[in-house]
């Protein structure tokens, strides 16, 4: 193998890469060592070197001395100069002058924008609506997650979250689904919690890695870099791939289990059955650290591999073989992904997989699934609205859908928001503020319906983004230009290490997300925001207190602490000692701001020992009371978690499927009409969701949306590579170009998401062509799993046929002809 970390570290010419310096001159450039973090988007933040000249970003390269990524930038960051210097970026605030959808704008000043917002808020108040009638949306995983709740605070609304992401079907189900049994979140140990990385003497490679329901090399989701796992693979880590579509992992796997989409929970239950019935579990760990094992063992007796084989469409011997291989690993770990959230058995699947890792003793051990917190316990996020707003109890939750369980998600329930928008219950949504989200092209389930609802029901829409997007053209009344990553000072604490983003350029009148917050907050709610007159004040307070709420005397009265489960106050705790606890993170020099200290004295990052400590449960590090054990009521990993009951979810996991999937499985007539599952959302190296489509470099590699189909399907339908086909079901249709691919089964097609075509006209009916290739023309809303969580996105059923000349384009159908189908407002 070529991977040799010691050799790599020794080979770096430290003088050439200016070790220890954060800024220097080189060949007429000013070079800055820092971290980028959106826009453009990604869930990560890899150390790099910006080369600027005369205030312009000219080139970028990775920083080999950065332990997070070792200088190994992906193609998107390597192309940063193209995107930050792009001629189509929004330069000034603008107000709409034509009708929505006409793409007619007039330049205004930030002051005028502020006056418009104030006038619209006055109108809302005068009409008698509460401020909760404002919804604030943001995109996934970008550097707006800790910031954007403060937009909600400024506007006075607790309804801050992703727009129309039915069933909370991204990441949050896995976070909650592990918080219940183990009190924390596990991620596969690729040495990333230690600055020594692969040279950390405690670290070892994962023995058996299960890549389940994601392609981490392309998605790098949830703060995790997929390529971190490559050194382990080179060192001999064996792979099990659970995915309907063959990936790089599947092609190199001991077992590739191409499950029927949305049947992953049946697979997980069968693994539990095998591991327990064949006595392959870790007795010592179960005896010492787990609770409710007998209940789980009794429950999973019914889920035989034979039973799962029929449901999943995978041979029984492969299920048994994979389960045995995993259980005998020392250690194993499951790299899970979005597919866990995009099926109705989401909470059950997460629990079952979590239980597999737990009973095999793979939790928080080197090479296993390590439990991680935000670096230095800086947890500002959705709970900020609960901390600062008097109307936090008006947040739309699963209670508004009729669920009786405790609303366990921090952000508002997207389906409840959808009903509020469509049907005005329990109150209408009249204003929308969107920060870095192009929901129409990307995350919005039932995109045609979102289009109709937002366009017609929302009186006032503000969009803040670096580029004019299809969603903006369709909805925005006011447009605000957002600074990109090179143009902002910021910080992140999502996993390790804490990182600082240093501003190196400016772009016309664009403001950073932090600057927009300080501007808006001090305009609308100065009593709260006077603490943060500038973005730098806000960032400093974020690093120092996690934006804790302070009393009259300046003392901290509320802070976001560990998401403890026995805490029914939405994650808020009294935490007067929070500043003292952060002494580790105190500036090393007196009188220097933490942010500047990070940037200038610490190469932009600092690691927190806590995350780098293994077996924290043995050391009293997980529980607020300092006792050994896990952060659950019993102190053990609760394999059948009572917390699920509190949330209204059966703690004994079972398999279930969405309506279409049940029909496909049970009804031959339905299957004749809709022979395929459409596995939506295949990722590419070139794009982060709907971003990067305007970049020539990315489109050179990936010009069009591709749908993978099996060679036999191609033969049967007379299709060849590059043909445009319609993918259709009762909800609508969209078109992509055929890529014949033997790694997708005969009953699946695999389509990409996030497409729009900046080269096409902006105005309706085109909207940059975003509806034409949009898989969310065939998804729907309000069909969710237990606890209101998990929704079918990667397992909707469809038929396919060739696009013909003269076919009505979806953009036309949706914006001009009333959409694809009728529906009742507020109902599925």
């Amino acid at each position: 193998m070529l991977f040799n970390y010691d050799e790599f570290l020794e080979s770096i010419d430290r003088e050439a890469y200016h070790e220890g310096e954060w800024r220097w001159e080189e060949d007429g450039y000013e070079v800055t060592r820092t971290y980028p973090y959106s826009a453009p988007g990604c869930h990560n933040s890899c150390g790099l070197l910006y080369y600027t000249k005369d205030g312009k970003l000219e080139r970028v390269e990775g920083d080999p001395l950065d332990p997070f990524a070792g200088g190994k930038l992906c193609m998107r960051c390597l192309d940063l100069p193209e995107v930050v210097n792009h001629p189509e970026r929004i330069k000034y605030p603008m107000k709409r002058v034509g009708e929505r959808g006409e793409n007619k704008w007039e330049r205004i000043t930030w002051d005028e924008a502020g006056e418009i917002i104030k006038a619209e808020l006055a109108k809302l108040d005068a009409q008698g609506y509460g401020r909760e009638s404002i919804f604030v949306g943001s995109g996934t995983g970008r550097n707006v997650i800790w910031q954007v709740p403060l937009i909600g605070v400024a506007l006075g609304t607790p309804n801050v979250g992703p727009l129309n992401l039915t069933g909370q079907s991204c990441y949050a189900p896995r976070v909650c689904g592990t918080a219940a049994p183990m009190g924390d979140y596990p991620i596969v140990d690729a040495s990333m919690t230690s600055p020594d990385r692969y040279a950390n003497v405690e670290w070892r490679k994962t023995d058996i890695l299960v890549v389940w329901g994601n392609e981490p090399l392309k998605s790098n989701a949830d703060g995790y870099i997929g390529h971190w796992l490559l050194p382990a693979i080179q060192m001999g880590t064996k792979i099990i791939s659970v995915d309907p579509v063959l990936t790089w992992w599947g092609a190199r796997a001991e077992y590739w289990l191409p499950v029927r989409p949305g049947t992953d929970c049946a697979m997980a239950l069968a693994w539990l059955n095998v591991i327990i019935s064949e006595d392959l579990y870790d007795h010592e760990f179960v005896d010492c650290w787990c609770a409710y094992f007998e209940e789980l063992a009794e429950h999973v007796k019914q889920f035989t591999p034979e039973w799962a084989a029929e449901i999943c469409g995978v041979p029984e011997e492969d299920i048994v073989g994979a389960a045995r291989l995993y259980a005998n690993a020392s250690p194993g770990a499951i790299q899970w992904g979005l597919a866990y959230d995009t099926q109705v058995a989401s909470m059950e699947l997460t629990l079952a997989a979590s239980d597999i890792m737990a009973i095999c003793g793979d939790i928080d051990v080197p090479g296993g699934a390590v439990l991680v917190h935000n670096s230095f316990e800086i947890n500002a996020g959705y709970a900020l609205t609960d901390m600062y707003l008097p109307n936090a109890d008006k947040k739309l939750t699963i209670r508004d859908l009729g669920y009786e369980g405790f609303p366990f998600m921090g952000s508002p329930d997207p389906d409840a928001v959808n009903i509020a928008m469509e049907a005005g219950k329990p109150y209408p949504i009249k204003m929308l503020w969107t920060q870095s989200s192009n929901a129409l092209s990307c995350m919005s389930f039932a995109a045609p319906r979102t289009y109709e609802t937002v366009k017609n029901a929302i009186d006032f829409c503000v969009y803040a983004d670096p580029f004019m997007t299809p969603s903006m053209v369709a909805f925005a009344d006011l447009v605000l230009p957002v600074a990109m990553t090179t143009e902002r000072n910021s910080a992140r604490t999502w996993w390790e290490p804490v990182r600082a983003m240093k501003k190196v350029t400016s772009f016309y009148e664009a403001k950073s997300d932090e600057e927009i917050i300080c501007w808006l907050g001090n305009l609308l709610s100065p009593e709260i925001f006077k603490r943060w007159p500038t973005a730098e004040d806000l960032i400093e307070d974020y690093l120092r207190t996690g934006l804790a709420a302070r009393g009259e005397d300046g003392e901290i009265v509320k802070a976001v602490f560990v998401a403890a489960l026995d805490d029914d106050d939405a994650g808020l705790n009294e935490r007067k000692d929070s500043e003292d606890e952060r002494t580790l993170f105190r500036a090393s020099e007196e009188g220097i701001a933490l942010f500047d200290d990070l940037v200038q004295n610490s190469c932009g990052h600092r690691y927190w020992d806590w995350n780098g400590t293994y077996r924290k449960y043995e050391k009293g590090l997980l529980r607020p009371d300092g006792k050994v054990g896990f952060n659950t009521i019993s102190g053990r990993i609760e394999l059948v978690p009572p917390t699920y009951r509190v949330w209204g979810i059966d703690p004994l996991p079972t398999h279930s499927e969405n309506i279409q999937s049940q029909k496909w499985f049970n009804d031959p007539e339905f299957r004749k009409e809709y022979p395929f599952y459409c596995v939506n959302g295949a990722r590419s190296y070139e794009f982060f969701h709907s971003e990067h489509r305007q970049l020539e470099t990315m489109r050179e590699f990936h010009p069009d949306p591709l749908v993978k189909i099996n060679p036999e399907t191609a033969k049967e339908y007379g299709l060849k590579d590059g043909d445009w086909i319609w993918i259709e079901n009762p909800d609508g249709r969209f078109k992509q170009r055929v890529k014949i691919f033997p790694g997708v089964s005969k009953w699946c097609v695999s389509a990409e998401h996030g497409w729009w075509f900046p080269e096409q006209p902006a105005e309706e009916p085109y909207l940059f062509g975003t509806f034409d290739s949009n898989p969310n023309n065939i998804t729907h809303v309000m069909e969710t799993g237990s606890g209101g969580v998990g929704a079918p996105r990667k397992n909707v059923c469809c038929k396919i046929y060739k696009v013909q000349e003269g076919d009505t384009m979806p953009g036309e159908q949706i914006t001009r002809l009333g959409g694809f189908r009728d529906y009742v407002a507020g109902e599925m």
């Binding site: 010419d13 200088g71 992906c74 193609m75 390597l78 192309d79 080179q234 790089w248 070139e686 590699f701």
Partner: protein, 115 residues
Amino acid sequence: MKGILVNYEYCTGCHSCEVACKKELGLPKGEYGIKIDEFGPVKITVGPKAGKWEWAFFPMVTKSCDLCEGRIAKGKMPMCVQHCQAWCLAYGEVEDLVRKVDGKTRYALLVPEQS
């Protein structure tokens, strides 16, 4: 003589080498200093590996490549090697690189024309 050793069993086809090189050399659309070729996925039907999948990515160095002479002179790595996310590229003296080839995985040694 310098070369680049590729452990192509582990190349993921992520395009980092291609873009890093394009940006370094200022190559326009359609031109590359290193270009990834792809074979597969194909299920092998014949021989001892029958039943296994073959899906290989292979970075090929073009005539535009100058082995990052300027960077090397300053003590830096070639752009493609520095940014290889899969840890499957190594730069060095050909005779040193050859010694890394152990037959346990798949290698190719790329030795472009050099001055």
